[in-house]
Amino acid sequence: MKNTIIKFENVSKDFSKNNQKTFKEFLPALFLGEKTVDRFTVFKDISFEIKKGECVGIIGPNGSGKSTILKLIAGVMSPTSGTISVQGRISPLIELGAGMHPELTGRENIFLNGAILGLSRKQIVENIQSIIDFSEIEEFIDQPIKHYSSGMYMRLAFSIAIHVKPEILIVDEILGVGDASFQEKCFKKMEEFKTNGVTIILVSHNLNQIEKFCNRVIYINHHRIQHDGHANKAIKIYASDQK
């Protein structure tokens, strides 16, 4: 039996938004008895398990909580109630390049981003050539990345993220990056991960991508999991709900 690598048990997530971001707004609101905190529920009591090596797609309309699930898995957010257990090194491909600094060179950013993703200096040094090769921007690597085009920027970020040797790869809508040939390359790399037993969780609005790539799909809507199972079926249900 394969072991469970991600487990959600009765997980709920509420957001409480402060309506007033400054004292100037907050103090009058407090005196007038207005609501100072708004709560809204993203999802309620959802449970699922993901086993090692599975490739799971998450679909649903905007605001249904797809990205929130990824953030919970990544440990960036905490659930309001319920428990989440995650084992293994995670590489988040959530909006790539979050830690990049525009004034630093490509090479310096590799070290910085690698460290953010939890690599040691030694691991980065060992992999740096391969990161540069994969990104195909060798000739610009010692220039500040503020001079990069957005495509080059994304290539570099993607290239760093896949060299973390993740056990769990979380991918959020990123495959719109770069030109067609680089996208092709990214998909190939992800296929390679898949065959190597890396667990992949993919969020996308592109149902074709999901169907092509994932064997299991979780469809989430109206605060609940509507369907969890075979990709074709989940996508069909989702499509019929959309009408």
């Binding site: 402060n18 971001k21 630093l104 460290a115």
Partner: protein
């Protein structure tokens, strides 16, 4: 306390990230401006010169016990650590908000953002201190072995700074006003700390304010060990140490209790 050791352990585990973040801060500044690191030296130097003019030539504040010491040096010994404190606290409080994009995307110990900002400021401080050393050599200020006391005093200062920074950084995420409030607090705080005047001209009935203010004990102690060639007052230093550790424990506790909702609130 246990929380503190756990946090230290996780920062040690993520030390590579810590150094990278410090490097990011330092390198980015160096690259952005023509004068680069020179600003770090020029800034306190200019401040010191103008303040010396205002307070020793116009206002004639005495330097008392160390009367053979020129006012400019007397001032600088206090001004440098104060600037370090005030810059660290100011930048560290803004550090979480400034790294919003990271906080919502990747997991790592959040305290690293605060600690790395403070370390970067310490590096600035070391650069700025070279001016003081040059100054002291120029004026032939005698120094004794008691100068080694600056290391424990510096350590206490950093504990205090870190504790307050953790508190303000977390609070600032909830209400951005905290930043503005903090800059007001820092201005008032400077005047209630013997930076521009010596501690011993403070009237007796107000001395308690200064004893409870770790910064005033710390700055006074720097002056005693650097300029006076004396040993610091142990009792005051111990109180400052105890207050600083307490501040750190409370600051960290608050930070950790808010940490879970950082990503929700940015």
């Amino acid at each position: 306390m246990q929380e503190l050791f756990k946090e230290i352990a996780s920062i040690v585990k993520w030390r590579e990230l810590l150094w990278q973040m410090v490097g990011r801060e330092v390198k980015a500044r160096y690259k952005q401006s023509v004068l680069g690191y020179f600003w770090v030296i020029l800034n306190p130097l200019a401040q010191m010169l103008v303040m010396s003019f205002a307070f020793s030539i116009i206002l004639r504040i005495p330097t008392n016990a160390s009367s053979h010491i020129p006012y400019s040096i007397f001032l600088f010994v206090g001004l440098l650590p104060w600037t370090l404190f005030s810059n660290s606290l100011g930048s560290a409080s803004a550090s979480l908000v400034g790294s919003a994009s990271l906080i919502t995307k990747v997991y790592f110990p959040r305290t690293i953002l605060v600690v790395s900002t403070i370390i970067a400021k310490i590096i600035d401080f070391l650069f700025a201190s070279t001016v003081l050393i040059a100054y002291m050599v120029y004026y032939h200020i005698p120094i004794s072995f008691s100068i080694l006391w600056i290391f424990p005093i510096f350590f206490i200062q950093q504990i205090f700074t870190l504790g307050l920074s953790l508190f303000f950084a977390a609070a600032n995420l909830l209400y951005r006003d905290i930043q503005y409030l903090l800059s007001l607090i820092l201005i008032l705080w400077m005047y209630l700390t013997p930076v521009i005047y010596p501690a011993d001209i403070v009237p007796d009935q107000y001395k308690f304010i200064f004893q409870l203010n770790p910064l005033s004990v710390i700055i006074n102690a720097y002056r005693q060990v650097i300029l006076g060639g004396l040993e610091p007052k142990y009792s005051s230093l111990l109180i400052a140490l105890a207050l600083s550790v307490l501040t750190l424990v409370i600051g960290l506790k608050y930070f950790k209790s808010r940490e879970k909702i950082f990503a929700d609130n940015i």
